[in-house]
Structure formats: structure tokens, C-alpha cells
Symmetry: C2
Subunit: 610 residues, 2 copies
């Protein structure tokens, strides 16, 4: 497997030039300088490239083993996780009030992408912990926060999310795990019994303790969503002084045999085989699903970022292979010499497609993270609300579009390698196998599309998305008047027009009291795809403007071999933007026609005849 080099140059481009370090001007980030951000990115790149990345292939080969109820992680994973904890990385995005370093979400997201690009299976462990931190920070009592948060934020304890049961996947109202309150004399806790499946990093020895956040049903509670509450079930009970007490009644009974992320233990957890696992309610009774949803936005953004990390690594592998592998010859008009395959334009199409899409997805995900920073920290309440409204629309797009594209990018990466791509030792196939989970978990991409087309757009009548489209149109106008970029402006404007039209169709048909819910279901996925294409193209349009200006100014870096000439980074960025808008966006724009074809054949088709 080729090494992984974190794309620090591109992170800097997005943070400094596209987002203009806006977050550093927000209240609360007074101490965060751009130099500090650079240093953080450089350090994270070292951890990712030197410590985590070398374990990616071996972790896949070895996988996890269950011995008794103990999970054996792949060699080196415990040490690599410890290096991460000791470097203080677990708390970088957590507010200082909870013991974190409180860096902006844009910076934390960049670091997350690097870690997932280096080793997605290992990256899942802190990703789940972050969810547990959010759950406790938002909904825990002060006592719970004081007892549990410091270790979680350090990373010496890790967290899990226990939602799924065999009969309760996308439909969590069917959760059956039971939580029964103890007698008053025993304490204020509950006893949980039941089985949870697909629990990521549900059991391991990389941390001293594991805090399971568990959805369960209280006795006599209402059926459906309202009977479900959220519980904290520690692997080891925690004494009042923070020391570890008895082993709780929750064990791992099996590990899943999965297509990918073999280094991440996916556990079936059994609660209460010895009489009931001790659990503490987090937040209000009957509001477990609501509490879970507050942290889902953040988690979904992280899964999108994870997809981008894997896509970036697939790019790096493909470019490295295409540079090294000599096969065939240049056309006679270019000299006819033997050449690396990256010189054949058909292969170069794959490379440029991978690069342009990955860059575009990254820019959009970080734009979204920047909105989250504004939503949390801006002085003005109106600014906060507007940013939150944008982020609410963007998050399902970042999650679903990035992960669908990541699978395609990883698959193209296999293709660039030809026959070698199908051989596991090459590493390209692992990236495809790993990437394939991201469109499924943390709410399938179909659920994301319904969240966007249903809840998010219907509740504000599409206002937030229309605001984003206005910005797309502004960028299109700027491109149109920039010499050399007018064709990009026209392409982007056409995309914006398609999205506007599709939004109108969705709002109109979606609001029909009778056919509305089916129309939303029918149009959701093509609508999300169209939105993703247009917003990614928009980010690349903005990148093209910056790159063109930088190319014209020339490089003033005296350290470059050719000072005064354009930095090739900007030239490549402008070419990627050209590809994204003129050769990738058209495929997305076709989704307007898909929507306008209507829902009749879909509604009439009877899967039972098959």
C-alpha cells in the first residue's frame, strides 16, 4: 500500500482562501491564530501519515478477533490510539468548558479527514466517542458531565452509540431493549436488558473504560418513539471519585464479518444476561430519540468527512500508480514514446475526475463546518440562526453525497490500477471495501435524502436552500465576467437554474396532503444528488476564481524553484474546477429530468411481481 500524505496544502487553500479564516474572527477563538491552525494541520498530518496510515493494510488483513468476551484488535492499533490520545487530539474540537481545546469545527474536520484517510477503521473509535461527548454535553446532568466528560474528552475512555436492534434499523421506534428503574433504595439508576447489533468499537482494550449510550424503552412507556429514553451504560461502573468500579452486565457476544473496515470491531452487545446492566438516564424520559438526533447532525457531517478521507487516499494511490506504471505509448503527435499510463487521456480522465470530485467534496464539507462554527459562536443571533439553517440543509448533502461519491472514487481508483487493483495486496480494493459502509451507516443515504427533501426543505419552504442557490448564482456571475472562466460561469448558472426548478417541483408536489409524502420519497434521492453536484460545482467555481487570481499574480514564494511563475497548485485547481463544472456537473444536472419525469411509474411498480 502506498503511503498517505495528508493534503495539507489543500486544507490551507480551503481554510485560508475559500473560507478566509472566518472562524478565527468569531468570539471564543481570540487565542486561535492562523499560525496555530497551520501547526495543528502539520502535526495532525504527521500523526496520520507516520503512525496511523502504516497500520491500515495490516489492520485490514488481521481484522478483529473475539476471544471469550474480549476483542483482540489488530497489532499496533492500541499503540496508535494511545499516540492520538497522548497528543491531545481527542479534544481539539471540544469546547474548553468541557476540557477540550475548543478549536473551530473547520480545523477539527480537517484533522478528522486526515485520520480517516490514514486509517478509517481506527478513526471510527474517536468518531463514536465524539458522539458520546455531544450526548452528555447537551443532555447529561451536571453530575454526569463532571463524572464522565473529562475522561471521554481526553480519550482515555471511549464511547459508543447503541441504537440498532435486529428489528429496529432505520425505524428506531421498534427498539425493544428494556430499561427498568431500580427500587428507590438501590439508587437512581436503571437495569437494562436486551441486545444491540452493529455497535462500532463496542468492546476493546484500547481504553480503560467504554461508555455505551443506549436507546431503551422504559416500562409502561408509550409505544413507538415516545417510549424510548437514552441511557448511559458504562462497561466498568464509575465510583464517585472517578475511579473504576465493578464490571457492568454488558458483554460482546459476537463480531460481524464485514466487507470492509476489518480493523473496527462491530459488536453485538448483550445487556443484562446477569440480571440487568446498570444504566443512568441521560436527559428526559421519553425523549431518547430526540436527544439522539441532536448529535446526529454532527455525526453525519463526520461520516461525510470520513468518505472524503478515503477518497483522498484513493486519489493518492491512483496518481502514484499511474505515474509509475509504464504501458503503451504516446500518440505519434506527442512523440510516440513509451509512457506512464497517466499520460493516456482516458486514464487521465479517471485521475482528474477523482481529484476534482475529492477537492469539491472537501470544500463543501469544510464550508458546512464553517457554518457550524458561525452557528455556535457568532455574536448576532440572526447570524447564528442563518448559519444553522444552512448547515441543516448541507449536512445530509455532505453525508450522502460525499459518501456516494467516495465509493465511486474508490472504485475508479481500483480501475486505474487495472488487474492489480483487484489484488488485495495493492490496497486499492480495501479503500473500496472500507468506503462502502459510509453510504449505509449513520442513517442510510436514502434517509439523508428524505431528511433533506422532507423535513429540512418542507419546514422552511426551501428558504435556506434558496439562499444558498442565490450565492451559487453570485459566483456564476463573477465567473462569467472573469476572462477565461466564462464557460464555468454559464455551466454553474445552468446548474443553479436546474436546482431552482427541481426545488419548486419538490415543494409543490411535496406539500400535496395526499400525494406529498410519496412525492418526497420519489424525488428525494435525485434531488439530493442534484443539490450535491450544484453545491460542489459552486465551491469549485469559487476555487477557480481564487486560483485564476493567484495564477495571474504569479508566485511570490522565493522558495519555489521558479519564483514569479504560477504555483502549479493553482493551475491544477483551475483545471479541476473546469472538469467539475463542465464535465461532472452535467451528469448531476440530469437529475432534474429524472424528477420531472414524475413518480407514476415508480408508484405503480409492484415489487411483488418480481
Amino acid at each position: 500500500m502506498f503511503p498517505y500524505h495528508a493534503p495539507v496544502r489543500d486544507f490551507r487553500f480551503v481554510l485560508e482562501e475559500l473560507l478566509e479564516h472566518r472562524s478565527l474572527d468569531l468570539p471564543g477563538f481570540e487565542e486561535t491564530s492562523s499560525e496555530l491552525v497551520e501547526a495543528v494541520l502539520d502535526e495532525a498530518a504527521r500523526l496520520a501519515g507516520d503512525v496511523w496510515a502504516p497500520l491500515n493494510a495490516s489492520g485490514d488483513r488481521q481484522g478483529c478477533r473475539l476471544e471469550g468476551d474480549k476483542v483482540q484488535l489488530p497489532d499496533g492499533f492500541i499503540e496508535a490510539y494511545r499516540a492520538y490520545v497522548e497528543g491531545g487530539w481527542n479534544g481539539i474540537g471540544v469546547p474548553a468548558v468541557h476540557g477540550g481545546q475548543g478549536l473551530p469545527e473547520v480545523v477539527a474536520s480537517a484533522v478528522q479527514e486526515m485520520l480517516h484517510g490514514a486509517n478509517m477503521a481506527l478513526g471510527l473509535c474517536p468518531m463514536l466517542t465524539a458522539g458520546a461527548i455531544e450526548a452528555l454535553a447537551h443532555h447529561g446532568s451536571d453530575a454526569q458531565k463532571a463524572l464522565y466528560l473529562p475522561k471521554l474528552v481526553e480519550g482515555t475512555w471511549t464511547g459508543t452509540m447503541n441504537l440498532t436492534e435486529p428489528q429496529a434499523g432505520s425505524d428506531l421506534s421498534k427498539v425493544r431493549t428494556r430499561a427498568v428503574p431500580c427500587e428507590a433504595a438501590e439508587g437512581d439508576h436503571y437495569r437494562l436488558t436486551g441486545q444491540k447489533i452493529f455497535i462500532t468499537w463496542g468492546e476493546h482494550d484500547a481504553a480503560e473504560n467504554i461508555l455505551h449510550l443506549v436507546l431503551a424503552r422504559t416500562p409502561d412507556a408509550a409505544e413507538g418513539n415516545k417510549g424510548i429514553s437514552l441511557f448511559l451504560v458504562p462497561k466498568f461502573l464509575v465510583n464517585a471519585d472517578g475511579s473504576l468500579g465493578a464490571r457492568n452486565d454488558v458483554i460482546c457476544t459476537s463480531l460481524e464479518h464485514k466487507l470492509g473496515i476489518h480493523g473496527s470491531p462491530t459488536c453485538t452487545l448483550s445487556f443484562g444476561e446477569q440480571g440487568g446492566a446498570i444504566g443512568y438516564r441521560v436527559g428526559e424520559e421519553g425523549r431518547g430519540l430526540n436527544h439522539m438526533f441532536t448529535m446526529m447532525n454532527a455525526a453525519r457531517h463526520k461520516v461525510g468527512v470520513q468518505g472524503i478521507g478515503v477518497a483522498e487516499r484513493a486519489c493518492q494511490h491512483a496518481f502514484a500508480y499511474a505515474r509509475d506504471r509504464v504501458q503503451g505509448r504516446l500518440p505519434k503527435s506527442r512523440g510516440g514514446a513509451e509512457c506512464p499510463i497517466g499520460d493516456h487521456l482516458d486514464v487521465r480522465r479517471m485521475l482528474l475526475s477523482m481529484r476534482a470530485r475529492t477537492d469539491a467534496l472537501r470544500a463543501l464539507a469544510l464550508y458546512c463546518a464553517d457554518q457550524l462554527d458561525v452557528a455556535r459562536h457568532a455574536e448576532d443571533a440572526g447570524d447564528r440562526q442563518a448559519a444553522q439553517a444552512k448547515a441543516d440543509v448541507l449536512i445530509p448533502v455532505v453525508k450522502a453525497f460525499s459518501t456516494d461519491q467516495a465509493v465511486e472514487i474508490a472504485s475508479l481508483g481500483v480501475q486505474v490500477h487495472g488487474g492489480m487493483g483487484y489484488i488485495e495486496e495493492t490496497g486499492a480494493a480495501q479503500l473500496l471495501r472500507d468506503a462502502r459502509i459510509a453510504p449505509i451507516y449513520e442513517g442510510t443515504n436514502g434517509i439523508q435524502a428524505l431528511d433533506l427533501a422532507g423535513r429540512k426543505l418542507q419546514r422552511d419552504g426551501g428558504t435556506a436552500l434558496a439562499g444558498l442557490i442565490d450565492e451559487v448564482e453570485g459566483t456564476a456571475r463573477a465567473l462569467c465576467v472573469t476572462p477565461g472562466l466564462a464557460a464555468l460561469g454559464e455551466g454553474l448558472a445552468a446548474g443553479a437554474a436546474d436546482l431552482t426548478a427541481a426545488l419548486a417541483t419538490l415543494l409543490e408536489e411535496g406539500s400535496d396532503p395526499k400525494r406529498g409524502p410519496d412525492a418526497i420519497q420519489a424525488y428525494a434521492t435525485p434531488f439530493l444528488s442534484l443539490t450535491g453536484h450544484v453545491l460542489c460545482a459552486w465551491q469549485m467555481g469559487r476555487a477557480a476564481l481564487k486560483a485564476m487570481a493567484a495564477e495571474e499574480a504569479g508566485s511570490d514564494d522565493p522558495g519555489r524553484p521558479d519564483p514569479g511563475r504560477p504555483d502549479p497548485f493553482y493551475t491544477a485547481k483551475r483545471q479541476s474546477a473546469d472538469y467539475a463544472i463542465r464535465q461532472w456537473l452535467p451528469v448531476g444536472r440530469a437529475q432534474r429530468a429524472v424528477i420531472e419525469a414524475g413518480m407514476a411509474s415508480l408508484a405503480a411498480f409492484d415489487p411483488d411481481t418480481q
Copy 2:
């Protein structure tokens, strides 16, 4: 893993209604009745479903093992292969003059699809044998045919194709394996030394003997393509009476560890470690690559069919899961009850998309097979040439488009299963892993696109494809005047117009002496995708016309529970056609814009800056 039911009903629809059993009227098929064809399909379906399909998952889990230089196949594979041989299946498409049953290619293709859908890894064994049969039948001497063909056609011996070497993949001019003629006293054979990689079914004990067809370079031969000849290297030498002689000097030195098709041994073969493997030249000296290419057309069609087989199985798994899995509720307007996920229109979109694409790919592949039958058997030379010209254009499309789509269909199949799709035991992931090789081998899909956009279209100035487009336009006109199908006619006509325009661009820019070769490289892949979409939509347009007529006539089958009412097969077919033309074709049509965006950014992009 769900069982596999061969789609006999759809094969019959395509053969009887779309192709109107044209092949049975050709000279040479006088003895082949439509009843015989039906019986063959039914018998093949039994072999595929009852014998081959149950070994698909276990074969994947067990894989192949190398013990010494012996390959251990998965349990049951030898018996399943023997059942195939004993049933006489290996020779069904081979002309009677070579000992086969000489059934039309359309029938043989249908049987191939079933076998690959049942067990792609096992299906590869006879697929490679078929290539060896073609090579010998076309280029072998009479003595070679007499000695080797009968056992190959029976299937008691199997064949392999030895092309690839580490430095010679897509570029076979770099083959280094050497073949040195023996002293005249020793005989008329050669001694081969060298190493071949990626040899499918290169070693195994399912057959008594293995005949390796090997590309190798003769001494003092010219560099490049012209120095390469084709050799037959039997695993066991064959005595003049057909009995087996000494073990030849060719051994399997390792097996590849692959993403999928674990039940198919992919071997590294070493020739001549003990002084030289005995080989017999097949055909002319220096024309090895040409001889190989004559059989590649057939092999490429088979790989396309293989992709369709896996896509069909992915459909069946997804439909079965979506029928069984209850999750969520219907919209209130449809009663609000708990429902299987296939009732949610977002899931149904995936199902219909899988079904419509698989049906369309099958219809196109069988249309192409039908052209091959005409090309081989028609009385009139003009008819034969016209059909061959069509087939030449269609084959790279069938290979590349079917296999690219099969990967997407198998990936959608994983998605329909949600989290269960990522668990290997479910079986959906295996189909994705297996399918992923098909866009790579037998000429990568990029090579197919270059074959279409370069060799095939440039040599006849696009005449054969233009003829196909004429037929597409004819179908579009027929749809436009059929009540209920006019929208399909308009969609199909628009697709035909896009393809016509893209063809003009490709021919114009491709013929430029300086930029032509790069333009062909730049446009090849989007052009093939556009062609595949339009031709598949065309087949579904033809299917819609037949289905609509049948629906209007009603069923006259007294055995149906509701005689007189339309057979739901036709209703579903019409809905699939609607989806294919109105919701799938638009995505393909976008490839015209991709081509018209030009090649500048692609040509300028420098992969070395990454």
C-alpha cells in the same frame, strides 16, 4: 444467501418477442425448434439454480488453496463442474463440425448468463475453455483440431488464456515469454520459458487435462507485436492416440488473493523451470496477437453477459430482502400501516432501477448475440457483413457498459439491504466483490471504449453505428404514435439525437491527424457510456411496444389465476421501460455535454503536480 432463480421468463420474452426467434430461421438451425430452445433454457435453469448456485457463497468463503503446485478448489466445485460436463452443456454453442450441439449464440448466451448468475467463479472455467476452443477452431491445424478439440468441447479438458505478464498488461507488445523451436530431430514443437500472471483457472483438478494457449516471442523475432506467436502448451502432453502422456514443464507457483471470485483460481504460471515447456505453435508465426484478437470479440461478449448474470442475482437478492424486511410505515394517505421497505418509494426507486437496467442490458446483449448468429449463418453475404459490422460496434458496448452497470447494480443491491448488506453472510457484498473484476479483465473498460471510439468507428466512419441509430429512431417514432408511450418516444428520440451529435464530434475531432488520437482517448469513455444508455433504452422501447400490445390483448393463458387480465410480467416490463427511458437515459444523455466540453482541461492537467 438467497436462492437463484434463472430469469427464464425474461429470456423467453427477449428470444421470442424481441428477437422473434430470428436465429431459428437461419441455415444450420433447421433442427432447432422453439420447443427445444425452451427445454434447453429450463434445463439450464435447473443446473444453475440447483447445482451451481448453492456453492456460490461457500466457494467464496473457502476460496482456492495452493498445496505444493496443486490447486485445491472449494468443496463441491469439481462435482458441479462434472454435472455441467455430463449434461453436455460445454458444447451447446460449438458448431457440430467440432463436436458441439451448434445451438444459436443467443441460446448459448442465455445459458451463460444463468451459470454466471448462479456462480460466477465456477462459470469462468468453461468461459476460458470456450476461448481455447475458438482459438483452435480458427487457427489450429487439422491435426491439432483432431487431437485437442473433442475433449475441450466435451469439457473433460479445459483451456486457459496466457497473455498477461508483470510488464505486459493492456500493452501485450511487451510480452517476454520465449518460445524456442526444437531441433528438427526432436519434433516440430517449441520450448517455452517465462512467467504468466492472472491466469484464470490456470491449474486445478476438475478436468483431466488443461490446454494453455500462450502468447510468446520466438527467437530473433521483431520487437513489439509482430514478434509474438500463439502456442498451445498442454498440462499433460497428449499422445497421438489421444491418451495422456508426460506432465509438461508448466506449474502454478502462486494464487492471487483477490477482492472477489474467490472460487476461481487466479494463477501465476511458470513455464520452463525444468528446461522448457513443450508447446505447439497455433497459426502463423508472428500473428499471435491477431489470432488472440479473433477470439476476443466472443470473450468480451461473454464478460458482458457475465456482468448481467451477477446483476440479475443482485436484483433477486434485493427484491427478496425488500419484500421481507418490515421497517417504517406507509404514508397516512396509503393507510399508515407497517410495511416492507419495498413499499417506500425511495427503496422502490433502487429496485426499479436495478430491474430496468438489468433487463435492458440483457436485451442488448442478446440482440448482439443474435447479430453474431446472422453474421455466421445467414445465406446472404451482405446480410452477414452487415450483422458483423453491427456486432463489432456492439461488443465493446456490451462488455464495458454491462459490467460498469453491473457494479452499480450490485452496489445498489448492497444499499437496499442497509446494514445487513455490509455483512458478508448476507451475500449482497459478495456480488459486488465478484462483479468488480468484470470492468477490468478481458480488456479494461477503457480499452473497450478506445476500441469503439477508435478502431471500430474510425474505420467505417461510424456507418454501422449510424445504422443502429436509424433503428433507434424508428423505434422512437413507433413509440410516439402509440397511445400511452409517446413520452418514451420523445425521450428515446432525444437520446438518439445526442448520440448522433456526439458521433459527429468524435469523427470530426478523431480524424484530425495531430489531435485525433488524443481526442479519441478523451471522448472514448463518455461516448461509450452515451452509446450504452441509448442502445439499452432502445431495447426497452421495443420491449414497451411489445408489452403494451400484450397488456391490451390480455392474457389468454387459462392457467393464470386471472385469465383475460394482463400478465403482470408485461405491466412490470412497461414500467421498467418507462424508468429506463425517462429516468435512466437522461443521465446517459449528459455524456454529450461532457464530450462537447472538449478535451482542453484534460490534456493540460499534469498528474505529476499531485
